[in-house]
Symmetry: C2
Amino acid sequence: MNDPAAAAEPILRTPRERARAQTIADIVRLGREHLATQGAAALSLRAVARDLGVVSSAVYRYVANRDELLTLLLVDAYSELGDAVDAAVNAVPVRDFDGRFKALGRAVRAWALREPARYGLLFGSPVPGYQAPSSQTTTPGTRVIYRLIGILDGAYRAGALTATARTAVVPSALSADLEAIRSELGLAMPDELQANGALVWTSLFGAVSFEVFGQYGPDTFRARGELFEHHLTVLAAMAGLVPEGNPRDDPKSAATPV
Amino acid sequence: MNDPAAAAEPILRTPRERARAQTIADIVRLGREHLATQGAAALSLRAVARDLGVVSSAVYRYVANRDELLTLLLVDAYSELGDAVDAAVNAVPVRDFDGRFKALGRAVRAWALREPARYGLLFGSPVPGYQAPSSQTTTPGTRVIYRLIGILDGAYRAGALTATARTAVVPSALSADLEAIRSELGLAMPDELQANGALVWTSLFGAVSFEVFGQYGPDTFRARGELFEHHLTVLAAMAGLVPEGNPRDDPKSAATPV
DNA sequence: GCCTGTCAAGAGCAGTGCTCGCAATTGTTG
DNA sequence: CAACAATTGCGAGCACTGCTCTTGACAGGC
């Protein structure tokens, strides 16, 4: 996103366009810094203009309004989180599904703790009066969940998912939702595993949010890293993943891993 | 909180004190309405003053500043959520631990969907520049988790908790945290069940937050009630709870309920 | 009945988002 | 190279915010 040599970026011919793109990039960078120090609600175009060394109204030549800057920052943050998750997952062998899942979880937590304000913009209470334009935010905003689904579905296809028997029954309306997702994304997982995957997804972000937003008291948990690792282990088991070196040939042979 | 006949409230002797208490109650009520419609960051003392039919500076006679109003609203919301959860849990027989847990979860979700802005104030991204005074907020803010712990620990003491064998090992530093909690609250549950309970806690709020904050896309899940019920079922099983009519005499006899 | 504490009012400071007209710069083009 | 036109910056201005301070009015307790 902030790399001027990004492959997908269109070539900027005229020096005017280049200067303009550079200024917008500067605005996003300054906005990101302000977001990190003061939070989304305190994001001020005037302050950005000050740091940019320009009068406030000049910023409106580049960004339509405060909401558009928020959208830029949203896309920027989603992309960075997606990049961090991709890098962490790709560092683990493709067949180590359990390891890939845990790498994803750790990457999300690490990024969130490193960038609490930006994490809050993505997964905290919605900014009042701001509605993210889905045309620009859905693609970068779905990278993590798609990656998670990919790991789980890959594990299922490889016969490495277990624990199907102990899940709850999926009722019909929910089953229709899951079928729609399955066909749209070309998944193979059955309803129960998909529903469990959804719970794993929300639980992962629930655990991270509690830590980032300070919902644990200041003293109740000191070993938060260990707590998160424990949660990851339980969540992986809930999804049906088994640790490396403990593969199962037939996912239906037994429902209860040890 | 908003009940003038609350038992713990001190008796207000002079008419002045009574008028003052009434005005503060009005301010909190108006603040709550503004919170519901515009969100926490847009909460404005001037707007409250306008609705109160008074000049803006007059509000400062009753509330020190915007942060103090936020604190009042925080306590107010925590108390209402706690009351809703208590009422829902108390409506289920004491020995039906699984039912009580699910009632707690449903009460949290129902209140959150009914009061999204106030839920966001409690469990969303922290308000920038505002630090909740723990002396006033911890007691009402811990009611739900204490209630949850009470259900789980009661189930454990009654021999109604299972699934101890399939949990992950708890490392030493985390074990020390859990031991501190155990002794402070007088719990009986072992480490693994406590750690699982923490995950159930964060997962419950993770699921609710995703729904309230609109993290699911607008169309991906239509049957959100069914999805939440499924999650509750899986979380109950993760905590070791078994549905009513399926009691176990010895929690250590088997680790895998069907 | 007087004094004291409480209260509302209003001006004022510093900040916010955003608009508009004017001037200057700067890239493009004849 | 010079003229044109697009682009950009500036500053004033409107309406809003939180918050402070001074002034004056009022009511309760001695």
